[in-house]
Every structure is written in structure tokens, then in C-alpha cells.
């Protein structure tokens, strides 16, 4: 009888231990998957936010809500919409547009990617901040986990233009590539998402006033 009891106890300990391990493993896997799935959802949402913001601004390159001539601040000549982009390189671009409330006065907008050192407080070593600067004011940004922001510029013949582009009027369409990752991840397994706009052509840039 004593031996049987011992066997019962040992067996129940083994089975109980196995069950405990299963539960703990389940908990661990559940936690990991929750973090990973949530992280992927956040990455997707961040990417969507960035894509919408960039499309919203870039589609208005060269737009000005007035019938009359406005003066280009850089040349002191009448503003020509096809020359709205006045500086562009692989990860930054500056151009003229008319920002809300679209009052017919030229505004400048600049997008540029900050260095990785600005995000040293996050576990992800690759994340950077994408800045948006209106009219030379203080940059406004939040860390959405951007790890790559690249633009490729095309001229009227759909040939690529080597950066930096300082000749106004050359750029007719833009290819935009954005990669976003988690700023922090479970067990350093970062999720990433990629968005590419193959050809974004602001209609105010890729036409002149004589389009009819």
C-alpha cells in the first residue's frame, strides 16, 4: 500500500508538473504573440498614417489658391507651379504649396529624415524621426518607427535625376519608399512594413499654366 501511494504521488506530481509547464508555456506564447500581433498592428497603423500624410501634402506641391500671380520668394519673380520643388535629395524635399486654410499665400513645406541618434532612447537601433516643417517653423514630428524614407525623382522623360536636385522644374514625378518598424519588440523580434508609391505626380508640378 505504501508503495502504491508513493507511485500515486509521484505520478500526480509528474502529471501536475506537466500541466503546469503547459500552462506556463501557453502563457508565455500568448504573451509573445500578443505583443507581436499588437506590434504589427501598430506598425501598420503608423505606416498608414505616414502614407496618408505624405500623399496629402505631396499632391498639393505647387498648389496656390488664387487666380492671380504670386511672387516666388526665392526668385522674386511670378511663381510658376512647375518649379515648386526647390530642393530635393534622397531623404528630404522642400517645396512650395498653399497650406490650410488655403488662403492663396505661398507656404513652404519641408520633409526630412532625422538621424538614428535622436531615437537612442528606444530599443530599436534603426528607428528615426520623419520631420515635417512648415514655413521654416520648428519641426513637428513624432516617432512612428520610420527606418527608411527614400525618394527617387524622375524628369519629363521618366529618367531618374541624381540627387541632390537643385534645378527647379526638373522633377515631374516622385517614387516614395517608406519602411516602418516597431520602436520596441518582444525579444527584439521587430516587425516591419513597407509602403511604396511608384509614381506620385502632383498635377500642379507636371503641367504649366498653358495646359488646355
Amino acid at each position: 500500500m505504501g508503495f502504491t501511494t508513493l507511485l500515486d504521488i509521484a505520478g500526480s506530481m509528474i502529471i501536475g508538473g506537466t500541466l503546469m509547464m503547459i500552462v506556463m508555456r501557453l502563457s508565455d506564447a500568448s504573451t509573445e504573440k500578443t505583443y507581436n500581433y499588437s506590434g504589427e498592428l501598430i506598425v501598420q497603423q503608423n505606416l498608414l498614417t505616414l502614407a496618408e500624410m505624405i500623399e496629402f501634402d505631396f499632391r498639393k506641391i505647387g498648389f496656390c489658391n488664387t487666380w492671380n500671380a504670386v511672387v516666388d520668394p526665392r526668385t522674386n519673380q511670378p511663381f510658376v507651379s512647375s518649379q515648386a520643388i526647390y530642393y530635393a535629395d534622397g531623404s528630404s524635399m522642400s517645396f512650395y504649396t498653399d497650406l490650410y486654410p488655403y488662403n492663396g499665400s505661398l507656404d513652404s513645406l519641408r520633409y526630412y529624415l532625422g538621424p538614428t541618434s535622436e531615437c537612442s532612447s528606444t530599443p530599436n537601433p534603426r528607428d528615426r524621426i520623419l520631420y515635417r516643417v512648415e514655413n521654416g517653423n520648428a519641426a513637428v514630428a513624432s516617432n512612428l518607427g520610420v527606418t527608411d524614407f527614400r525618394m527617387v525623382f524622375y524628369d519629363v522623360n521618366d529618367d531618374t535625376i541624381p540627387p541632390p536636385v537643385v534645378t527647379r522644374g526638373l522633377i515631374k514625378s516622385i517614387e516614395i519608399n517608406i519602411t516602418v518598424e516597431n520602436v520596441a519588440a518582444y525579444d527584439e523580434k521587430y516587425s516591419n512594413a513597407f509602403w511604396k508609391q511608384i509614381r506620385l505626380a502632383s498635377r500642379n508640378v507636371s503641367r504649366s499654366k498653358t495646359d488646355n
Binding site: 500578443t34 487666380w67 500671380a69 507651379s81 526638373l170
Partner: protein, 416 residues
Amino acid sequence: MSGKAILIVVIGFTLTLLAVGQKFGSLSNRAVDNYVSYQSETVAHNIAISGANIAANAIYLSPTWDDGYDNIPYQGGYLDVTVDVVDEDLGLREITSRGIYFRDTSEIKLRIAPSNFSEYAYYSNYEKAGPTSSGTIWWTGKDTVWGPFHTQAKLSCAFHPSFRGKTTSHKGSIEYQTNKKTDSPVITGIYLPGKNLEIPTQAVENLEADADDDGYKFDGQDTVYLLFDKDTLRYKYSYKNKYTALYLPSAAPNGLIYAKNMVVRLKGTVKGKYTLGCSSSTSSTGKGTVWLDDDIVYNTNPLKHPESTDLFGIIAENYVWITENTPNKTSINIQASVFSEKWGFGAYNYDKRPVSGNINLLGGIQQNYRQPVGTIDGNTISHGFTKQYRYDSRLAFMSPPFYPGTGGFKIVSWFE
């Protein structure tokens, strides 16, 4: 007892897995929602763009079209288009196009204004000097055209001429003197082959009625010498005579000066917005010709003062010639938009006159036949002028009074 324990364990596991599964399912649904939302916004936006393009095309085919579209099914969604007249006098219109796709709506506003020929830095119907001319007039490496360019013929290039603006041609292909590598043009802008824009044939004659109504008309003489002296116009009918002065704001309130069946000799400084028309009543090309005897410039140079309101148009039925004389031997400055209905703008005696510097044009040239202004030997000018044509950007927004229209509209702005 052990059965109950097992049952509790199983129930526990089930509840735990249900909770975890519900969480994962929620995350997946939200991810799909994000994707569907972006896709829906994009489709609505594309429908709106399509509506704007369809409406713009409808106005191109029929300039008075303003019917719009109401809830038209399109690409799985709907499109609405309205056309509003913003300024009846100036003919300004706004097209609003809405694309609706499920719960997303996207709106695009398109502004259009009547188009006229003064918007072109350069326009030609034929890239040759006359109906019987066989030689090709080449755009050369020393030629620069700033601003919108159009020819109804082919674009003929030698040694990389430069076109800094929208460039279009009706006949399509670019013609190279030697080959593409040696001669291809440098175009900072758009090149659109296949665009058709015909020159009007009654533009000059139509000016007479406007000149009779609040303009000033010269009539009954062979030649008139015109000297613009800011807001005074000095004129005489013979070279030896003294000038008679006219105060232009009183003499031509609508800005139109018309020389009927005459030859015009022109020079001076223009203050204000004026157009000079010169017609011919015969088939001879002597009358209806404007001779530029010296510089014709603005009182306030728009290159230095972009707020300048001085604007000048020259509309000749036949030629606009740069006179071969002493003042024009060392370049000529022309600040005007020049329109030649039957012939063209050029340098008289272009192939025999000495090398005369540049034609510094600020404005535009629109002509039926392209007249030469000089000759080249290899890559070197041997007679006449080189072309430094610069577009007056103000012409995108304003035009000289009564300048010939193209019959269509231009897109002033596109908001999306």
C-alpha cells in the same frame, strides 16, 4: 474526484484559449480594417480624379459645357461633378469633382481660365520660312527658350538647344540634324508630342471693331512711325516729319492701337497695358508688317520688379521684322508678346547682315511661319542674331488687351 479535476483543467484551458483567440481575432480584424480603409480612400480619390479629367475633356470639346455629372456609377462607386462660373467677365470656372466609394468621399477642385496665345513663349504653325521653303530652321545649342513652347510641326534640333518650360509639338517626333547624341534638346519641363493648336486666321481683322470702340485707329496712310514714350504715343507718317504726341490713357482707353492697312515702324518704352494691331487689306506682304527699328521695352522691367503692370502685345497680319539698321547691330531688346498671323517674326536680311548679338526677348512669339534670325556655320553664328528668348511669367496670368485666344481653357490650379 480526479474526473472533476480534469474537467476543471479542461474548462480552464478552454477559457484561456478563448480569451487569447478573441484577442488575436480582434487584432486581425483591425489590421484588415486598416487595409480596407486605405483601399477605399484610394479608390474614392481615383474616382474623383477621373471625374475631373472627364469634365475637363468635356469643356475642351465644348467650351460652354457646364452640365456636370450627378451620381454617375463609376468603378464600383459614384462620381459627381459640378461646374461653377467664378468670374463671368474673365471666363473663370471651377470644376468640383467628388468620388464616392462606400463610406469614403474624396473631392478635387480644378480651376480653369480661358487660354490665349500670349501664354506661349514660342509658337509656330510651320517650322519653315514659307510655303515653298525647303530648308530646315534649326534650334541650336546657342538657343534658349524659357517658357511654354509649341510647334505644329516637328521640333528640329542641333547641338542641344535648351527649352526651359512645357514643350509640345503636333507632329510628334524630334528631328536631329546629325543624331540624338549630338543634337538632343535639353528640356527642363514636359515634352508632349501630338498636341494640336491651330493659329487663327481672322485675329487681326477682328481687332478693328474694338479699335473703333474706345481704341485708337490709324488709317489712310502708307506708313506710321510709332514711338512709345511711356504713357505718350508719338507718331508721324514720314521719317522727316516731327512727331505728334497722343496721351494714351485718353486716346486708347481700352488699350488697343490699330494701324489699318499700313506699315508700322516701332520702338520705345511702354507704360501700361497696350496692344498694337497692324492689318493689310491686300495680299501684298508690305502692309500689315511691323518693323522694330530699335528696342521696345517696358517702363518698369518685370525682371527686376515682378509687380510691374506694363504689358505689350504686337499683332501683325504679315511680318514682324527686326530692321537692319545701326541701333540693331548690337543686340535688340524686345519686351512684348509678338503675334504674326500669316507670316512670322524674324531678322530682315538675316543671311547677309553682320553678326548682331542677341535678340533679348522677354515675352513670347507666336507665328505662322518661322522666320530665321541668323545663320550658323557649324556651331558658330555667322550672320544675324542668336536667340535669348525668356518667357514673361506674368503672361500665365494676364494678357495684353484683345490678344488672340486659343478657343480653349487652361488649368490654373488643381487641388486634391
